[in-house]
Symmetry: C2
Subunit: 162 residues, 2 copies
Amino acid sequence: MDAENKHAADKVGAATASLRPQQDECRWDGVEVLQYKQEGSAPFRDVTRQVLFDDPDLAAQVRYFEMQPDGYSTLERHQHVHAVMILRGRGRCLVGDRVLDVREHDLVNIPAFAWHQFRANADTPLGFLCVVNAARDKPQLPDESALAELRRDSTVAAFIRT
Amino acid sequence: MDAENKHAADKVGAATASLRPQQDECRWDGVEVLQYKQEGSAPFRDVTRQVLFDDPDLAAQVRYFEMQPDGYSTLERHQHVHAVMILRGRGRCLVGDRVLDVREHDLVNIPAFAWHQFRANADTPLGFLCVVNAARDKPQLPDESALAELRRDSTVAAFIRT
Protein backbone atom coordinates (compact mmCIF):
# COMPACT_ATOMS: atom_id res chain seq x y z
CA MET A 1 0.00 0.00 0.00
CA ASP A 2 1.43 3.45 -0.87
CA ALA A 3 1.38 6.36 1.59
CA GLU A 4 -1.75 7.96 0.17
CA ASN A 5 -3.79 4.75 0.35
CA LYS A 6 -2.47 4.13 3.84
CA HIS A 7 -3.67 7.53 4.96
CA ALA A 8 -7.10 6.99 3.36
CA ALA A 9 -7.32 3.57 5.00
CA ASP A 10 -6.50 5.07 8.40
CA LYS A 11 -9.29 7.63 8.03
CA VAL A 12 -11.84 5.00 6.95
CA GLY A 13 -10.97 2.78 9.88
CA ALA A 14 -11.32 5.56 12.40
CA ALA A 15 -14.52 6.98 10.93
CA THR A 16 -16.77 3.92 10.87
CA ALA A 17 -15.77 1.94 13.95
CA SER A 18 -18.88 1.02 15.89
CA LEU A 19 -20.04 -0.67 19.06
CA ARG A 20 -23.69 -1.55 19.49
CA PRO A 21 -24.16 -2.71 23.08
CA GLN A 22 -26.88 -5.20 23.98
CA GLN A 23 -29.65 -3.31 25.79
CA ASP A 24 -32.32 -5.74 26.96
CA GLU A 25 -31.85 -9.44 26.30
CA CYS A 26 -31.17 -9.83 22.57
CA ARG A 27 -32.14 -6.25 21.82
CA TRP A 28 -29.38 -3.94 20.61
CA ASP A 29 -28.70 -0.25 20.61
CA GLY A 30 -29.51 1.06 17.12
CA VAL A 31 -30.93 -2.23 15.78
CA GLU A 32 -34.59 -2.09 14.77
CA VAL A 33 -36.93 -4.96 15.70
CA LEU A 34 -38.63 -5.82 12.39
CA GLN A 35 -41.49 -7.98 11.22
CA TYR A 36 -40.22 -11.41 10.21
CA LYS A 37 -41.98 -11.23 6.83
CA GLN A 38 -44.82 -9.36 5.29
CA GLU A 39 -48.10 -10.48 6.91
CA GLY A 40 -49.88 -13.02 4.67
CA SER A 41 -46.83 -13.70 2.47
CA ALA A 42 -46.20 -17.10 4.06
CA PRO A 43 -47.31 -19.00 7.18
CA PHE A 44 -45.48 -18.08 10.44
CA ARG A 45 -46.34 -17.07 14.01
CA ASP A 46 -44.86 -14.61 16.54
CA VAL A 47 -41.47 -14.07 14.92
CA THR A 48 -39.29 -10.95 14.85
CA ARG A 49 -36.20 -10.19 12.78
CA GLN A 50 -33.21 -7.96 13.52
CA VAL A 51 -30.42 -7.31 11.04
CA LEU A 52 -27.22 -7.18 13.10
CA PHE A 53 -24.65 -6.80 10.32
CA ASP A 54 -25.37 -5.73 6.76
CA ASP A 55 -22.10 -4.26 5.58
CA PRO A 56 -21.47 -3.79 1.83
CA ASP A 57 -17.87 -4.97 2.48
CA LEU A 58 -19.14 -8.25 3.96
CA ALA A 59 -20.29 -11.03 1.62
CA ALA A 60 -22.78 -12.18 4.28
CA GLN A 61 -25.54 -10.79 6.46
CA VAL A 62 -25.95 -11.62 10.15
CA ARG A 63 -29.54 -11.62 11.36
CA TYR A 64 -31.21 -12.47 14.69
CA PHE A 65 -34.64 -14.13 14.67
CA GLU A 66 -36.78 -14.64 17.72
CA MET A 67 -39.93 -16.71 18.18
CA GLN A 68 -42.24 -16.26 21.14
CA PRO A 69 -43.29 -19.47 22.99
CA ASP A 70 -44.88 -21.81 20.41
CA GLY A 71 -44.03 -19.32 17.65
CA TYR A 72 -42.65 -20.72 14.42
CA SER A 73 -40.84 -19.62 11.28
CA THR A 74 -42.01 -20.42 7.75
CA LEU A 75 -41.50 -23.95 6.45
CA GLU A 76 -39.38 -23.27 3.36
CA ARG A 77 -36.25 -24.09 1.42
CA HIS A 78 -33.84 -22.36 -0.97
CA GLN A 79 -30.47 -22.71 -2.63
CA HIS A 80 -28.64 -20.52 -0.10
CA VAL A 81 -27.41 -22.10 3.12
CA HIS A 82 -27.98 -20.99 6.72
CA ALA A 83 -25.30 -20.98 9.44
CA VAL A 84 -27.27 -20.84 12.70
CA MET A 85 -26.30 -20.42 16.35
CA ILE A 86 -29.01 -20.52 18.99
CA LEU A 87 -28.62 -17.52 21.31
CA ARG A 88 -31.61 -17.76 23.60
CA GLY A 89 -34.18 -20.27 24.84
CA ARG A 90 -35.06 -23.68 23.55
CA GLY A 91 -36.97 -25.16 20.70
CA ARG A 92 -36.90 -27.58 17.81
CA CYS A 93 -36.12 -27.31 14.16
CA LEU A 94 -36.76 -29.34 11.07
CA VAL A 95 -33.71 -29.66 8.79
CA GLY A 96 -34.27 -31.87 5.77
CA ASP A 97 -36.08 -34.89 7.22
CA ARG A 98 -34.89 -34.55 10.83
CA VAL A 99 -36.44 -32.75 13.79
CA LEU A 100 -33.68 -31.52 16.12
CA ASP A 101 -33.84 -30.28 19.72
CA VAL A 102 -31.89 -27.04 20.07
CA ARG A 103 -30.76 -24.85 22.95
CA GLU A 104 -28.40 -21.97 23.70
CA HIS A 105 -25.17 -21.95 21.66
CA ASP A 106 -26.01 -25.05 19.61
CA LEU A 107 -24.90 -24.83 15.97
CA VAL A 108 -27.21 -25.79 13.10
CA ASN A 109 -26.15 -26.07 9.49
CA ILE A 110 -29.00 -25.83 6.97
CA PRO A 111 -27.70 -26.98 3.59
CA ALA A 112 -28.93 -25.97 0.16
CA PHE A 113 -32.53 -27.01 -0.56
CA ALA A 114 -33.15 -28.58 2.85
CA TRP A 115 -36.69 -27.97 4.07
CA HIS A 116 -36.46 -26.16 7.40
CA GLN A 117 -38.64 -24.65 10.09
CA PHE A 118 -37.87 -23.44 13.63
CA ARG A 119 -40.31 -23.51 16.53
CA ALA A 120 -39.94 -22.28 20.12
CA ASN A 121 -40.92 -24.63 22.91
CA ALA A 122 -44.26 -23.89 24.60
CA ASP A 123 -42.62 -22.42 27.72
CA THR A 124 -39.77 -20.33 26.29
CA PRO A 125 -38.87 -18.06 23.40
CA LEU A 126 -36.30 -19.24 20.85
CA GLY A 127 -33.75 -16.80 19.45
CA PHE A 128 -30.96 -17.51 17.00
CA LEU A 129 -28.30 -15.91 14.85
CA CYS A 130 -28.53 -16.77 11.16
CA VAL A 131 -25.67 -16.01 8.75
CA VAL A 132 -26.53 -15.98 5.03
CA ASN A 133 -24.86 -14.89 1.81
CA ALA A 134 -25.66 -11.27 1.01
CA ALA A 135 -26.56 -12.37 -2.55
CA ARG A 136 -29.13 -15.15 -2.31
CA ASP A 137 -32.21 -16.68 -3.90
CA LYS A 138 -35.79 -16.37 -2.65
CA PRO A 139 -37.34 -19.05 -0.42
CA GLN A 140 -39.65 -21.67 -1.92
CA LEU A 141 -42.79 -22.83 -0.09
CA PRO A 142 -43.79 -26.52 -0.17
CA ASP A 143 -46.52 -27.55 -2.60
CA GLU A 144 -49.01 -30.33 -1.79
CA SER A 145 -46.69 -32.98 -3.17
CA ALA A 146 -43.73 -31.77 -1.05
CA LEU A 147 -45.94 -31.66 2.05
CA ALA A 148 -47.16 -35.21 1.43
CA GLU A 149 -43.55 -36.37 1.11
CA LEU A 150 -42.55 -34.61 4.35
CA ARG A 151 -45.56 -36.07 6.18
CA ARG A 152 -44.55 -39.64 5.37
CA ASP A 153 -42.39 -39.33 8.51
CA SER A 154 -44.68 -39.19 11.55
CA THR A 155 -42.24 -37.03 13.61
CA VAL A 156 -41.97 -34.52 10.80
CA ALA A 157 -45.74 -34.62 10.23
CA ALA A 158 -46.40 -33.81 13.90
CA PHE A 159 -43.81 -31.02 13.94
CA ILE A 160 -44.46 -28.89 10.89
CA ARG A 161 -46.87 -25.94 10.86
CA THR A 162 -48.25 -24.78 7.52
CA MET B 1 -36.63 -26.26 -10.91
CA ASP B 2 -37.31 -29.42 -12.95
CA ALA B 3 -38.14 -32.75 -11.33
CA GLU B 4 -34.62 -34.16 -11.58
CA ASN B 5 -33.03 -31.14 -9.92
CA LYS B 6 -35.74 -31.19 -7.29
CA HIS B 7 -34.91 -34.79 -6.46
CA ALA B 8 -31.16 -34.06 -6.32
CA ALA B 9 -31.83 -31.06 -4.09
CA ASP B 10 -33.94 -33.17 -1.72
CA LYS B 11 -31.14 -35.69 -1.37
CA VAL B 12 -28.51 -33.03 -0.73
CA GLY B 13 -30.67 -31.35 1.87
CA ALA B 14 -31.32 -34.57 3.75
CA ALA B 15 -27.75 -35.84 3.57
CA THR B 16 -25.81 -32.95 5.04
CA ALA B 17 -28.12 -31.55 7.71
CA SER B 18 -26.19 -31.19 10.93
CA LEU B 19 -26.54 -30.20 14.55
CA ARG B 20 -23.45 -29.57 16.66
CA PRO B 21 -24.58 -29.15 20.26
CA GLN B 22 -22.62 -27.00 22.68
CA GLN B 23 -20.82 -29.32 25.09
CA ASP B 24 -18.98 -27.30 27.73
CA GLU B 25 -19.30 -23.52 27.67
CA CYS B 26 -18.35 -22.39 24.15
CA ARG B 27 -16.99 -25.78 23.21
CA TRP B 28 -18.88 -27.69 20.52
CA ASP B 29 -19.34 -31.28 19.50
CA GLY B 30 -17.07 -31.92 16.52
CA VAL B 31 -15.37 -28.50 16.56
CA GLU B 32 -11.63 -28.61 17.19
CA VAL B 33 -10.02 -26.07 19.55
CA LEU B 34 -7.12 -24.68 17.53
CA GLN B 35 -4.13 -22.47 18.14
CA TYR B 36 -5.01 -18.85 17.35
CA LYS B 37 -1.95 -18.45 15.09
CA GLN B 38 1.36 -20.11 14.57
CA GLU B 39 3.58 -19.45 17.60
CA GLY B 40 6.02 -16.60 16.87
CA SER B 41 4.18 -15.39 13.75
CA ALA B 42 2.78 -12.34 15.55
CA PRO B 43 2.36 -11.14 19.15
CA PHE B 44 -0.62 -12.58 21.08
CA ARG B 45 -1.30 -14.31 24.40
CA ASP B 46 -3.61 -17.12 25.54
CA VAL B 47 -5.97 -17.20 22.57
CA THR B 48 -7.78 -20.15 20.98
CA ARG B 49 -9.67 -20.36 17.69
CA GLN B 50 -12.59 -22.55 16.65
CA VAL B 51 -14.05 -22.59 13.14
CA LEU B 52 -17.81 -22.97 13.59
CA PHE B 53 -18.94 -22.70 9.97
CA ASP B 54 -16.74 -23.09 6.91
CA ASP B 55 -19.14 -24.16 4.19
CA PRO B 56 -18.10 -23.88 0.52
CA ASP B 57 -21.67 -22.69 -0.19
CA LEU B 58 -21.28 -19.81 2.29
CA ALA B 59 -19.37 -16.68 1.23
CA ALA B 60 -18.31 -16.17 4.87
CA GLN B 61 -16.67 -18.08 7.69
CA VAL B 62 -17.90 -18.00 11.30
CA ARG B 63 -15.15 -18.38 13.91
CA TYR B 64 -15.09 -18.28 17.71
CA PHE B 65 -12.05 -16.79 19.47
CA GLU B 66 -11.42 -16.98 23.17
CA MET B 67 -8.87 -15.17 25.31
CA GLN B 68 -7.98 -16.29 28.83
CA PRO B 69 -7.96 -13.56 31.53
CA ASP B 70 -5.55 -10.83 30.38
CA GLY B 71 -5.02 -12.68 27.09
CA TYR B 72 -4.97 -10.63 23.91
CA SER B 73 -5.23 -11.04 20.16
CA THR B 74 -2.71 -9.62 17.67
CA LEU B 75 -2.79 -5.89 17.00
CA GLU B 76 -3.37 -5.86 13.24
CA ARG B 77 -5.41 -4.55 10.34
CA HIS B 78 -6.51 -5.69 6.87
CA GLN B 79 -8.87 -4.87 4.07
CA HIS B 80 -11.51 -7.42 5.09
CA VAL B 81 -14.05 -6.43 7.73
CA HIS B 82 -15.02 -8.24 10.94
CA ALA B 83 -18.57 -8.64 12.21
CA VAL B 84 -18.17 -9.51 15.90
CA MET B 85 -20.57 -10.59 18.64
CA ILE B 86 -19.25 -11.12 22.16
CA LEU B 87 -20.43 -14.49 23.46
CA ARG B 88 -18.71 -14.83 26.80
CA GLY B 89 -17.02 -12.72 29.47
CA ARG B 90 -15.81 -9.17 29.38
CA GLY B 91 -12.96 -7.24 27.92
CA ARG B 92 -11.92 -4.31 25.83
CA CYS B 93 -11.06 -3.84 22.19
CA LEU B 94 -9.25 -1.29 20.13
CA VAL B 95 -11.06 -0.39 16.89
CA GLY B 96 -9.35 2.34 14.88
CA ASP B 97 -8.48 4.93 17.51
CA ARG B 98 -11.07 3.94 20.13
CA VAL B 99 -10.85 1.54 23.06
CA LEU B 100 -14.28 0.01 23.71
CA ASP B 101 -15.61 -1.90 26.74
CA VAL B 102 -17.37 -5.07 25.58
CA ARG B 103 -19.51 -7.73 27.22
CA GLU B 104 -21.85 -10.59 26.35
CA HIS B 105 -23.92 -10.08 23.16
CA ASP B 106 -22.42 -6.68 22.31
CA LEU B 107 -21.88 -6.14 18.58
CA VAL B 108 -18.62 -4.73 17.20
CA ASN B 109 -18.06 -3.71 13.61
CA ILE B 110 -14.41 -3.60 12.54
CA PRO B 111 -14.20 -1.75 9.21
CA ALA B 112 -11.58 -2.13 6.50
CA PHE B 113 -8.07 -1.14 7.58
CA ALA B 114 -9.02 -0.28 11.18
CA TRP B 115 -6.30 -1.26 13.63
CA HIS B 116 -7.85 -3.68 16.13
CA GLN B 117 -6.95 -5.78 19.15
CA PHE B 118 -9.08 -7.61 21.72
CA ARG B 119 -8.11 -8.22 25.33
CA ALA B 120 -9.90 -10.09 28.11
CA ASN B 121 -10.30 -8.37 31.46
CA ALA B 122 -7.96 -9.57 34.22
CA ASP B 123 -10.69 -11.54 36.01
CA THR B 124 -12.57 -13.19 33.13
CA PRO B 125 -12.08 -14.81 29.75
CA LEU B 126 -13.39 -13.06 26.64
CA GLY B 127 -14.99 -15.06 23.84
CA PHE B 128 -16.51 -13.77 20.63
CA LEU B 129 -17.94 -14.81 17.29
CA CYS B 130 -16.22 -13.25 14.29
CA VAL B 131 -17.75 -13.41 10.79
CA VAL B 132 -15.40 -12.75 7.85
CA ASN B 133 -15.50 -13.14 4.10
CA ALA B 134 -14.27 -16.56 3.02
CA ALA B 135 -12.00 -14.83 0.47
CA ARG B 136 -9.90 -12.27 2.30
CA ASP B 137 -6.50 -10.59 2.50
CA LYS B 138 -3.78 -11.30 5.06
CA PRO B 139 -3.43 -9.18 8.22
CA GLN B 140 -0.81 -6.42 8.37
CA LEU B 141 1.20 -5.78 11.54
CA PRO B 142 1.97 -2.20 12.61
CA ASP B 143 5.44 -0.84 11.81
CA GLU B 144 7.23 1.62 14.11
CA SER B 145 5.59 4.59 12.42
CA ALA B 146 2.08 3.13 12.82
CA LEU B 147 2.77 2.32 16.48
CA ALA B 148 3.98 5.86 17.12
CA GLU B 149 0.81 7.21 15.53
CA LEU B 150 -1.40 4.91 17.64
CA ARG B 151 0.49 5.86 20.83
CA ARG B 152 -0.22 9.56 20.37
CA ASP B 153 -3.50 8.75 22.17
CA SER B 154 -2.72 7.91 25.81
CA THR B 155 -5.68 5.54 26.19
CA VAL B 156 -4.65 3.60 23.10
CA ALA B 157 -1.00 3.66 24.20
CA ALA B 158 -1.92 2.12 27.58
CA PHE B 159 -4.17 -0.50 25.98
CA ILE B 160 -2.19 -2.03 23.14
CA ARG B 161 0.13 -5.02 23.56
CA THR B 162 2.84 -5.59 20.98
